[in-house]
């Protein structure tokens, strides 16, 4: 048998250990709860994450579909954009030098083509050329036609002024001829290639009076379009007061 004092010491030790383990077990119990909660959270997080990944994938598919539909819509809008009319430009008078000689540029465009044409001049005028100085063009001596061969890019937007705009770029054939009695400059049969940028604005029904505009900017490279470069320079915008016609550009979607 143990002596009583040892028995008491043993009991005290056991009781002490038991008492001491209470907070420890409480703490472990608490941490176990937290671990369980964390594990639950982790599971939830993984589940949410997987759901998000699925949603992202779905939204990417949806975004791709939206892109495709928007692209289809945009192309349809291009097909429904069109216009035609007459831009009146004033050229210098050979005697007064004042911009008083009318030159009518007829134009037309849609999603497949664009052209601009000056059939002839009813009066003599001075053509201030880029490389050849001022050239006197007598009555009925001038012809110019530009016709697109490709449409490479297009853009339909609403401008900051609220008007719908169509931009088209690509390549064209340009025929410019000054047929004088003594010589002919250029040709109405042999084209020179150039690149272009068209900006048409639809300001509502009413054509030029409502604010519609048609600007046909052509970029002449001297190596591919020497005649037109000499006449018009590297960049020339054919435009004027739109006195007739209508431009229709649908609302972008």
């Amino acid at each position: 048998m143990l002596k009583p004092k040892y028995t008491i010491a043993a009991i005290a030790t056991i009781v002490g250990i038991a008492l001491g383990s209470i907070p420890l077990s409480l703490m472990y119990s608490s941490q176990a709860n937290e671990i369980t909660l964390l594990q639950a959270s982790e599971t939830e997080l993984v589940r949410t994450n997987q759901a998000m990944i699925r949603q992202i994938a779905e939204s990417q598919v949806a975004e791709g579909e939206v892109d495709r539909l928007e692209a289809e819509m945009s192309r349809l809008l291009l097909k429904s954009a069109s216009g035609g009319g007459v831009n009146m430009k004033m050229m210098p008078h050979p005697e007064t030098g004042e911009l008083s000689v009318e030159m009518a540029e007829v134009f037309s465009f849609d999603g497949n083509h664009a052209f601009c044409r000056v059939e002839t001049n009813k009066e003599a005028f001075i053509m201030p050329t880029y490389k050849m100085g001022d050239v006197l063009i007598e009555k009925n001596e001038f012809f110019m036609a530009m016709s697109t061969t490709t449409i490479d890019e297009f853009k339909i937007t609403t401008g900051t002024d609220g008007n719908n705009k169509l931009v088209m770029t690509g390549g064209l054939d340009c025929f410019t001829e000054v047929a004088k009695a003594s010589m002919t400059l250029g040709s109405r049969e042999v084209a020179e290639y150039a690149s272009y940028k068209i900006e048409a604005t639809d300001a509502g029904f009413g054509g030029g009076g409502a604010g519609d505009t048609f600007e046909f900017t052509v970029y002449f490279d001297e190596s591919t379009a020497p005649i037109n470069y000499a006449v018009f320079g590297p960049e020339f915008t054919f435009t004027g007061d739109m006195i007739d016609g209508e431009i229709t550009i649908p609302e972008p979607r």
Partner: protein, 502 residues
Amino acid sequence: MAKHPGEALWYRLSAIMLLPLTLRQSSIKSLMLIVLILCSTALACSTPPPPRESKASFGEVPGILAHASNNDVIDGIISPEELIAIGEQIFSASFNTLDGSGNTKVRLFTNDSEKSNLLAKFNRISGPDANSCAGCHNQPIPGGGGDNVANAFVLAHEFPNVNFDEGAGDSLEILTLTTTGNERGTISMFGSGLIELLAREMTHELHIIRSAAIEEAQATKQSVTVKIHAKGVSFGKLTAWPDGLLDLSKVEGVDEDLIIKPFSQKGVYTSLREFTLDAMQIHHGLQGEERVGVDIDADSDGVANELTAADITALTLFQATLPLPVIANSDDKATYAYAKRGQELFETIGCAVCHKPYLELHDPIYTEPNPYNPPGTQNIDSLPSLYNLDLLAKNTSTVIETTETGTYRVYAYTDLKRHNMGEILANETIEQRFVESPVWLTRKLWGIMSEPPFLHHGRATLLDEAISAHGGEATQSRADYLNLPESARIAIIEFLKTFRMP
């Protein structure tokens, strides 16, 4: 033995003084002879040398003292440094009639009066409106920005000779100052070589994305829509179709050709060369032969070859190698702390979205000409690249940070993209190259404190006024700025004040 004529004379005089008097009389004659010889020698030495063959030009001379020769450039005879020196001389020259300077459009309005023709040689509105590049680009040194007095009226050059009299010079139109041209301030060209290089690299990135989209569309026979971005800047989306057509309706901030054009406040010039050719013709009436041809007097002023292609190269290289701005942090602790706080706020309120602190440059070698130059400006097809200049070889500026991968962070505080800036800044009535009135290229902020006044027309004399005029895409940032406490706004101003020229 005397080594010097003066020393010999001293010995001789000493000897004479020591001679007996009887001998002195003959010595005096000798002395006089020596003095005579010495005086003659001195006189001969002071006589100017006989005239050589003169290289001077008598009478009035052109402002451009020496043109760069195309052959010297092509043959590699002239060094980049020599070419840059010629460019600097042309940039600072005061052009005159002998250079071919003057109104290239005089022929478009008739007035044979000597008085009228003299007056028409220069027109402050429709140009030519300056005699020298440095006449406007001069703050704080040639190449810099300009005061309000140096504002240009962009696109007014399309009128022959504006007088507001509805006459031929006005193309018979009823003009006002605001319908004639777009008044713009002169901005600096400092660091413009690096800006052009950044734009070239961005263009290259955009074109790669475009090409890949076209190839994918053709391969898959379906439309392909891709996000387009370069150097972390988004330019929207494009759609490529199998037939090769590109839909650019959702492209933002760049032209349809996807070429980043970093020059002019509207962002319409691809390169320093293209800008220079236009500026020389519009502001000075000087035509580059690469535009009008060799030996052709296109403006009928009696002078052909007004600017050789090599001259334009020289001007381009001069501008490309102008000094870089710096970020000049203050030594004063309080000011420094303010600026640092301002830098944080600048990003917090969204200024840094467009005024992107840095763009990363891969290659600092400037080649000329720019491969993306448009027709009428020499490009890599018409003029092989003859000069390769390392723009950062001697860099000490704080606007450049080298990365571990060997690239360079260029702290220009721009995204080189166009943005709608709202109604307050939509004052222009004439569109420049299809860019609408409220749309502007993000202003580079580097060096800005060295070239006041601010905004495109110089109407803001304070940075606070310039920020307050922001709108459009910057509406929220402007509102956030205005809602900041005064001390925070001052901090942002202190940050902007660190952008200077050295």
